[in-house]
Protein backbone atom coordinates (compact mmCIF):
# COMPACT_ATOMS: atom_id res chain seq x y z
CA UNK A 1 0.00 0.00 0.00
CA UNK A 2 2.75 2.41 0.91
CA UNK A 3 4.59 1.24 -2.19
CA UNK A 4 1.60 2.04 -4.34
CA UNK A 5 1.32 5.42 -2.63
CA UNK A 6 4.99 6.01 -3.37
CA UNK A 7 4.50 5.14 -7.02
CA UNK A 8 1.49 7.42 -7.22
CA UNK A 9 3.43 10.16 -5.43
CA UNK A 10 6.23 9.72 -7.98
CA UNK A 11 3.86 10.05 -10.95
CA UNK A 12 2.15 13.03 -9.31
CA UNK A 13 5.53 14.65 -8.71
CA UNK A 14 6.54 14.07 -12.32
CA UNK A 15 3.31 15.50 -13.66
CA UNK A 16 3.49 18.51 -11.36
CA UNK A 17 7.14 19.11 -12.13
CA UNK A 18 6.33 19.32 -15.80
CA UNK A 19 3.61 21.86 -14.97
CA UNK A 20 6.13 23.78 -12.83
CA UNK A 21 3.67 24.06 -9.93
CA UNK A 22 5.03 24.37 -6.41
CA UNK A 23 3.56 21.79 -4.05
CA UNK A 24 4.25 21.16 -0.38
CA UNK A 25 5.63 17.78 0.72
CA UNK A 26 3.03 15.21 1.77
CA UNK A 27 4.71 14.85 5.10
CA UNK A 28 7.22 16.87 7.08
CA UNK A 29 10.61 15.39 7.86
CA UNK A 30 11.02 12.85 10.67
CA UNK A 31 8.91 14.57 13.28
CA UNK A 32 8.98 12.03 16.06
CA UNK A 33 11.81 9.63 15.37
CA UNK A 34 10.96 7.62 12.24
CA UNK A 35 13.07 8.58 9.22
CA UNK A 36 11.61 9.36 5.82
CA UNK A 37 12.73 7.86 2.52
CA UNK A 38 14.24 11.27 1.73
CA UNK A 39 16.50 10.88 4.74
CA UNK A 40 17.28 7.19 4.68
CA UNK A 41 16.75 5.63 1.25
CA UNK A 42 19.97 4.38 -0.29
CA UNK A 43 21.35 2.69 -3.39
CA UNK A 44 19.08 2.12 -6.38
CA UNK A 45 15.97 3.02 -4.37
CA UNK A 46 17.48 6.43 -3.63
CA UNK A 47 18.54 6.98 -7.24
CA UNK A 48 14.97 6.23 -8.36
CA UNK A 49 13.58 8.61 -5.72
CA UNK A 50 15.96 11.46 -6.60
CA UNK A 51 15.33 11.05 -10.33
CA UNK A 52 11.54 11.20 -9.81
CA UNK A 53 11.97 14.42 -7.87
CA UNK A 54 13.64 15.93 -10.91
CA UNK A 55 10.89 14.70 -13.18
CA UNK A 56 13.05 11.97 -14.70
CA UNK A 57 12.54 8.21 -15.07
CA UNK A 58 15.94 6.73 -15.99
CA UNK A 59 14.93 3.21 -14.93
CA UNK A 60 11.78 3.09 -17.06
CA UNK A 61 9.47 2.50 -14.11
CA UNK A 62 6.50 4.44 -15.48
CA UNK A 63 4.40 3.41 -18.46
CA UNK A 64 5.77 4.83 -21.70
CA UNK A 65 4.01 7.83 -23.12
CA UNK A 66 1.93 7.17 -26.20
CA UNK A 67 2.18 9.55 -29.12
CA UNK A 68 -0.06 9.78 -32.19
CA UNK A 69 2.58 8.05 -34.35
CA UNK A 70 2.21 10.43 -37.27
CA UNK A 71 5.08 11.83 -39.31
CA UNK A 72 4.86 15.11 -37.41
CA UNK A 73 4.35 13.46 -34.05
CA UNK A 74 6.06 10.08 -34.12
CA UNK A 75 6.02 7.53 -31.29
CA UNK A 76 9.20 8.25 -29.37
CA UNK A 77 11.35 5.21 -28.54
CA UNK A 78 13.95 5.80 -25.80
CA UNK A 79 17.09 3.82 -26.60
CA UNK A 80 20.57 3.22 -25.26
CA UNK A 81 23.31 2.54 -27.75
CA UNK A 82 21.70 3.97 -30.87
CA UNK A 83 19.06 1.40 -31.72
CA UNK A 84 16.20 -0.54 -30.17
CA UNK A 85 13.85 -3.33 -31.15
CA UNK A 86 10.22 -2.29 -31.45
CA UNK A 87 7.28 -4.68 -31.46
CA UNK A 88 4.24 -3.04 -33.04
CA UNK A 89 0.72 -4.24 -32.25
CA UNK A 90 -0.80 -2.53 -35.23
CA UNK A 91 -4.30 -2.88 -33.92
CA UNK A 92 -5.50 -3.63 -30.43
CA UNK A 93 -5.88 -7.37 -29.74
CA UNK A 94 -3.61 -8.32 -32.67
CA UNK A 95 -1.78 -11.55 -31.88
CA UNK A 96 0.94 -11.14 -34.52
CA UNK A 97 3.60 -8.67 -33.36
CA UNK A 98 5.57 -6.86 -36.06
CA UNK A 99 9.20 -6.60 -34.98
CA UNK A 100 11.77 -4.19 -36.43
CA UNK A 101 14.82 -2.20 -35.40
CA UNK A 102 14.60 1.55 -34.93
CA UNK A 103 17.86 3.52 -35.30
CA UNK A 104 18.73 6.98 -34.08
CA UNK A 105 18.45 9.66 -36.74
CA UNK A 106 15.35 9.74 -38.92
CA UNK A 107 11.96 8.16 -38.48
CA UNK A 108 11.06 4.58 -39.14
CA UNK A 109 7.66 3.27 -40.11
CA UNK A 110 6.09 0.00 -39.09
CA UNK A 111 6.14 -2.18 -42.25
CA UNK A 112 2.61 -3.32 -41.51
CA UNK A 113 0.58 -0.32 -40.28
CA UNK A 114 2.90 2.57 -41.15
CA UNK A 115 3.05 4.15 -37.70
CA UNK A 116 6.05 6.46 -37.34
CA UNK A 117 8.65 5.65 -34.71
CA UNK A 118 11.62 7.79 -33.72
CA UNK A 119 14.54 6.68 -31.57
CA UNK A 120 15.58 9.19 -28.92
CA UNK A 121 18.60 8.80 -26.63
CA UNK A 122 17.66 7.58 -23.13
CA UNK A 123 19.70 8.99 -20.28
CA UNK A 124 21.90 6.17 -19.03
CA UNK A 125 21.65 5.91 -15.26
CA UNK A 126 24.94 5.68 -13.38
Amino acid sequence: MAGRLLLRACTTTLRLRSNAVARPLHRAMATEGIPTDEEQATGLERRVLMAFKEGKDPYSILKPKYYPGTKEDPQLVPCIGGKRLVGCLCEEDNTAIVWFWVHEGGSHRCPSCGTYYKAVPHEVPH
Binding site: G3, L6, R27, I34, T36, D37, A41, R46, H122, V124
Partner: protein
Protein backbone atom coordinates in the same frame (compact mmCIF):
# COMPACT_ATOMS: atom_id res chain seq x y z
CA UNK B 1 27.42 -2.34 -8.15
CA UNK B 2 26.37 -3.36 -11.68
CA UNK B 3 24.93 -0.65 -13.88
CA UNK B 4 21.62 -1.42 -15.52
CA UNK B 5 18.75 0.63 -16.84
CA UNK B 6 15.96 -1.35 -15.17
CA UNK B 7 14.62 -1.03 -11.61
CA UNK B 8 14.68 -4.74 -10.78
CA UNK B 9 16.91 -6.67 -8.41
CA UNK B 10 19.16 -9.31 -9.95
CA UNK B 11 20.01 -11.20 -6.78
CA UNK B 12 23.52 -12.46 -6.07
CA UNK B 13 24.09 -16.23 -5.92
CA UNK B 14 23.02 -17.63 -2.56
CA UNK B 15 23.35 -20.99 -0.78
CA UNK B 16 20.13 -20.66 1.19
CA UNK B 17 17.70 -22.15 -1.35
CA UNK B 18 19.87 -25.27 -1.42
CA UNK B 19 20.20 -25.55 2.36
CA UNK B 20 16.45 -24.92 2.64
CA UNK B 21 15.69 -27.73 0.21
CA UNK B 22 18.05 -30.07 2.08
CA UNK B 23 16.38 -29.08 5.36
CA UNK B 24 12.95 -29.87 3.89
CA UNK B 25 14.21 -33.27 2.74
CA UNK B 26 15.72 -34.09 6.15
CA UNK B 27 12.61 -32.96 8.00
CA UNK B 28 10.22 -35.04 5.92
CA UNK B 29 12.33 -38.17 5.78
CA UNK B 30 13.14 -37.59 9.46
CA UNK B 31 9.42 -37.62 10.16
CA UNK B 32 9.12 -41.00 8.47
CA UNK B 33 12.15 -42.29 10.42
CA UNK B 34 10.53 -41.12 13.64
CA UNK B 35 7.32 -42.96 12.83
CA UNK B 36 9.03 -46.23 12.00
CA UNK B 37 12.26 -46.32 13.99
CA UNK B 38 11.51 -44.09 17.02
CA UNK B 39 14.50 -41.79 16.39
CA UNK B 40 14.08 -38.00 16.12
CA UNK B 41 17.69 -37.21 15.18
CA UNK B 42 17.20 -36.76 11.44
CA UNK B 43 14.12 -34.62 11.89
CA UNK B 44 15.90 -32.53 14.52
CA UNK B 45 18.87 -32.02 12.20
CA UNK B 46 16.48 -30.92 9.45
CA UNK B 47 14.74 -28.46 11.79
CA UNK B 48 18.05 -26.94 12.89
CA UNK B 49 19.14 -26.59 9.26
CA UNK B 50 15.79 -24.97 8.41
CA UNK B 51 16.12 -22.49 11.27
CA UNK B 52 19.63 -21.54 10.18
CA UNK B 53 18.46 -21.21 6.57
CA UNK B 54 15.53 -18.90 7.25
CA UNK B 55 17.55 -16.70 9.61
CA UNK B 56 20.31 -16.18 7.09
CA UNK B 57 18.05 -15.92 4.03
CA UNK B 58 15.79 -13.28 5.52
CA UNK B 59 18.80 -11.51 7.08
CA UNK B 60 20.21 -11.25 3.54
CA UNK B 61 16.90 -9.83 2.25
CA UNK B 62 16.95 -7.17 4.99
CA UNK B 63 20.50 -6.32 3.99
CA UNK B 64 19.60 -6.11 0.29
CA UNK B 65 16.52 -3.95 0.90
CA UNK B 66 17.29 -1.71 3.84
CA UNK B 67 21.07 -1.42 3.69
CA UNK B 68 21.72 -1.68 -0.05
CA UNK B 69 18.56 -0.05 -1.42
CA UNK B 70 17.62 -2.76 -3.93
CA UNK B 71 13.90 -2.60 -3.09
CA UNK B 72 12.70 -0.03 -5.60
CA UNK B 73 8.92 0.48 -6.01
CA UNK B 74 8.61 -2.22 -8.71
CA UNK B 75 10.59 -4.68 -6.56
CA UNK B 76 8.38 -3.87 -3.60
CA UNK B 77 5.31 -4.48 -5.76
CA UNK B 78 6.66 -7.95 -6.54
CA UNK B 79 7.19 -8.64 -2.85
CA UNK B 80 3.58 -7.59 -2.19
CA UNK B 81 2.29 -9.97 -4.85
CA UNK B 82 4.44 -12.70 -3.31
CA UNK B 83 3.10 -12.24 0.19
CA UNK B 84 -0.50 -12.10 -1.02
CA UNK B 85 -0.07 -15.29 -3.03
CA UNK B 86 1.57 -17.02 -0.08
CA UNK B 87 -1.23 -16.04 2.30
CA UNK B 88 -3.75 -17.22 -0.30
CA UNK B 89 -2.04 -20.61 -0.38
CA UNK B 90 -2.28 -20.73 3.41
CA UNK B 91 -5.99 -19.95 3.23
CA UNK B 92 -6.41 -22.95 0.94
CA UNK B 93 -4.36 -25.04 3.39
CA UNK B 94 -6.81 -24.26 6.19
CA UNK B 95 -9.75 -24.72 3.85
CA UNK B 96 -8.81 -28.40 3.69
CA UNK B 97 -9.08 -28.82 7.44
CA UNK B 98 -12.38 -26.99 7.55
CA UNK B 99 -13.59 -29.30 4.78
CA UNK B 100 -12.60 -32.29 6.88
CA UNK B 101 -14.41 -30.86 9.92
CA UNK B 102 -17.63 -30.10 8.06
CA UNK B 103 -17.53 -33.42 6.20
CA UNK B 104 -17.56 -35.30 9.50
CA UNK B 105 -19.76 -32.97 11.52
CA UNK B 106 -22.59 -32.23 9.06
CA UNK B 107 -23.48 -35.92 8.71
CA UNK B 108 -22.28 -37.69 11.88
CA UNK B 109 -21.93 -41.44 11.36
CA UNK B 110 -23.62 -44.12 13.48
CA UNK B 111 -20.22 -44.85 15.08
CA UNK B 112 -20.41 -41.38 16.62
CA UNK B 113 -23.94 -41.98 17.80
CA UNK B 114 -25.35 -40.01 14.89
CA UNK B 115 -24.60 -36.82 16.84
CA UNK B 116 -22.19 -33.95 16.80
CA UNK B 117 -20.44 -33.58 19.16
CA UNK B 118 -20.08 -37.35 19.15
CA UNK B 119 -21.33 -39.39 22.06
CA UNK B 120 -18.88 -39.29 24.94
CA UNK B 121 -17.24 -36.01 23.92
CA UNK B 122 -17.61 -33.00 26.24
CA UNK B 123 -16.66 -30.03 24.09
CA UNK B 124 -15.10 -26.88 25.52
CA UNK B 125 -17.55 -24.14 26.52
CA UNK B 126 -17.26 -21.60 23.69
CA UNK B 127 -18.13 -18.75 26.03
CA UNK B 128 -15.24 -19.30 28.40
CA UNK B 129 -11.53 -19.25 27.41
CA UNK B 130 -12.24 -19.55 23.66
CA UNK B 131 -14.24 -16.30 23.80
CA UNK B 132 -11.44 -14.60 25.71
CA UNK B 133 -9.02 -15.83 23.02
CA UNK B 134 -11.24 -14.29 20.37
CA UNK B 135 -11.17 -10.95 22.19
CA UNK B 136 -7.40 -11.16 22.62
CA UNK B 137 -6.78 -11.73 18.91
CA UNK B 138 -9.24 -9.05 17.83
CA UNK B 139 -7.51 -6.61 20.19
CA UNK B 140 -4.16 -7.56 18.70
CA UNK B 141 -5.57 -6.72 15.27
CA UNK B 142 -6.36 -3.26 16.57
CA UNK B 143 -2.91 -2.76 18.10
CA UNK B 144 -1.10 -3.85 14.94
CA UNK B 145 -3.16 -1.33 12.93
CA UNK B 146 -2.29 1.28 15.54
CA UNK B 147 1.39 0.42 15.08
CA UNK B 148 1.05 0.79 11.30
CA UNK B 149 -0.49 4.24 11.54
CA UNK B 150 2.18 5.26 14.04
CA UNK B 151 4.90 4.24 11.57
CA UNK B 152 3.23 6.11 8.71
CA UNK B 153 2.94 9.21 10.89
CA UNK B 154 6.57 9.05 11.94
CA UNK B 155 5.83 8.37 15.60
CA UNK B 156 8.61 6.09 16.78
CA UNK B 157 7.69 5.53 20.42
CA UNK B 158 4.04 4.84 19.68
CA UNK B 159 4.99 2.40 16.92
CA UNK B 160 7.26 0.49 19.28
CA UNK B 161 4.67 0.40 22.05
CA UNK B 162 1.82 -0.70 19.78
CA UNK B 163 3.94 -3.40 18.15
CA UNK B 164 5.14 -4.69 21.52
CA UNK B 165 1.55 -4.78 22.77
CA UNK B 166 0.53 -6.78 19.69
CA UNK B 167 3.22 -9.36 20.42
CA UNK B 168 2.22 -9.49 24.09
CA UNK B 169 -1.40 -10.18 23.14
CA UNK B 170 -0.21 -12.91 20.78
CA UNK B 171 1.79 -14.47 23.60
CA UNK B 172 -1.22 -14.25 25.90
CA UNK B 173 -3.30 -16.11 23.27
CA UNK B 174 -0.65 -18.80 23.01
CA UNK B 175 -0.48 -19.15 26.79
CA UNK B 176 -4.28 -19.42 27.14
CA UNK B 177 -4.49 -21.93 24.32
CA UNK B 178 -1.72 -24.01 25.87
CA UNK B 179 -3.67 -24.10 29.12
CA UNK B 180 -6.79 -25.17 27.22
CA UNK B 181 -4.87 -27.94 25.44
CA UNK B 182 -3.57 -29.15 28.78
CA UNK B 183 -6.96 -29.21 30.48
CA UNK B 184 -9.17 -30.37 27.62
CA UNK B 185 -11.22 -33.46 28.47
CA UNK B 186 -10.53 -34.99 25.04
CA UNK B 187 -7.36 -35.70 23.06
CA UNK B 188 -6.31 -35.83 19.42
CA UNK B 189 -6.88 -39.60 19.53
CA UNK B 190 -10.54 -39.24 20.49
CA UNK B 191 -12.06 -40.09 17.16
CA UNK B 192 -12.74 -37.68 14.37
CA UNK B 193 -13.80 -34.94 16.81
CA UNK B 194 -10.45 -34.89 18.58
CA UNK B 195 -8.62 -35.22 15.30
CA UNK B 196 -10.33 -32.34 13.50
CA UNK B 197 -10.22 -30.17 16.61
CA UNK B 198 -6.53 -30.53 17.39
CA UNK B 199 -5.22 -30.61 13.82
CA UNK B 200 -7.13 -27.44 12.87
CA UNK B 201 -6.47 -25.52 16.08
CA UNK B 202 -2.96 -26.94 16.26
CA UNK B 203 -1.99 -25.66 12.84
CA UNK B 204 -3.59 -22.36 13.76
CA UNK B 205 -1.43 -22.24 16.89
CA UNK B 206 1.66 -22.90 14.78
CA UNK B 207 0.70 -19.97 12.58
CA UNK B 208 0.24 -17.78 15.67
CA UNK B 209 3.79 -18.66 16.69
CA UNK B 210 5.10 -17.90 13.20
CA UNK B 211 3.18 -14.62 13.07
CA UNK B 212 4.38 -13.61 16.53
CA UNK B 213 7.96 -14.33 15.48
CA UNK B 214 7.51 -12.25 12.33
CA UNK B 215 6.14 -9.36 14.40
CA UNK B 216 9.02 -9.69 16.89
CA UNK B 217 11.52 -9.38 14.04
CA UNK B 218 9.64 -6.27 12.91
CA UNK B 219 9.86 -4.84 16.43
CA UNK B 220 13.63 -5.38 16.45
CA UNK B 221 13.90 -3.74 13.02
CA UNK B 222 11.71 -0.82 14.02
CA UNK B 223 13.88 -0.23 17.09
CA UNK B 224 16.93 -0.35 14.81
CA UNK B 225 15.46 2.37 12.56
CA UNK B 226 15.08 0.12 9.51
CA UNK B 227 11.60 1.34 8.58
CA UNK B 228 10.83 4.71 7.04
CA UNK B 229 7.42 6.34 7.19
CA UNK B 230 6.88 5.53 3.49
CA UNK B 231 8.73 2.25 3.07
CA UNK B 232 8.11 -0.49 5.62
CA UNK B 233 6.86 -3.44 3.65
CA UNK B 234 8.32 -6.02 6.05
CA UNK B 235 6.00 -4.65 8.70
CA UNK B 236 3.03 -4.59 6.32
CA UNK B 237 3.65 -8.21 5.38
CA UNK B 238 3.75 -9.17 9.07
CA UNK B 239 0.53 -7.25 9.70
CA UNK B 240 -1.21 -8.95 6.75
CA UNK B 241 -0.12 -12.33 8.08
CA UNK B 242 -1.31 -11.47 11.56
CA UNK B 243 -4.75 -10.40 10.28
CA UNK B 244 -4.94 -13.69 8.36
CA UNK B 245 -4.18 -15.60 11.58
CA UNK B 246 -6.92 -13.63 13.31
CA UNK B 247 -9.47 -14.38 10.58
CA UNK B 248 -8.63 -18.10 10.65
CA UNK B 249 -9.27 -18.07 14.39
CA UNK B 250 -12.66 -16.40 13.86
CA UNK B 251 -13.65 -19.17 11.45
CA UNK B 252 -12.33 -21.80 13.88
CA UNK B 253 -14.25 -20.26 16.73
CA UNK B 254 -17.54 -20.00 14.83
CA UNK B 255 -17.28 -23.46 13.20
CA UNK B 256 -15.58 -25.75 15.67
CA UNK B 257 -15.96 -24.10 19.06
CA UNK B 258 -19.42 -22.63 18.73
CA UNK B 259 -21.45 -24.41 16.04
CA UNK B 260 -19.65 -27.67 16.74
CA UNK B 261 -20.46 -27.73 20.46
Amino acid sequence: MAHHSHPYHMVDPSPWPLTGAIAALLMTSGLAVWFHFHSTSLMLLGTILLTLTVIQWWRDIVREGTFQGHHTPPVQKGLRYGMILFITSEVLFFLGFFWAFYHSSLAPTPELGGNWPPAGITPLDPFEVPLLNTAVLLASGVTVTWAHHAIMEGKRKQAIHALALTILLGAYFTFLQAMEYNEAPFTIADGVYGCTFFVATGFHGLHVLIGSTFLAICLARQISHHFTSEHHFGFEAAAWYWHFVDVVWLFLYISIYWWGS
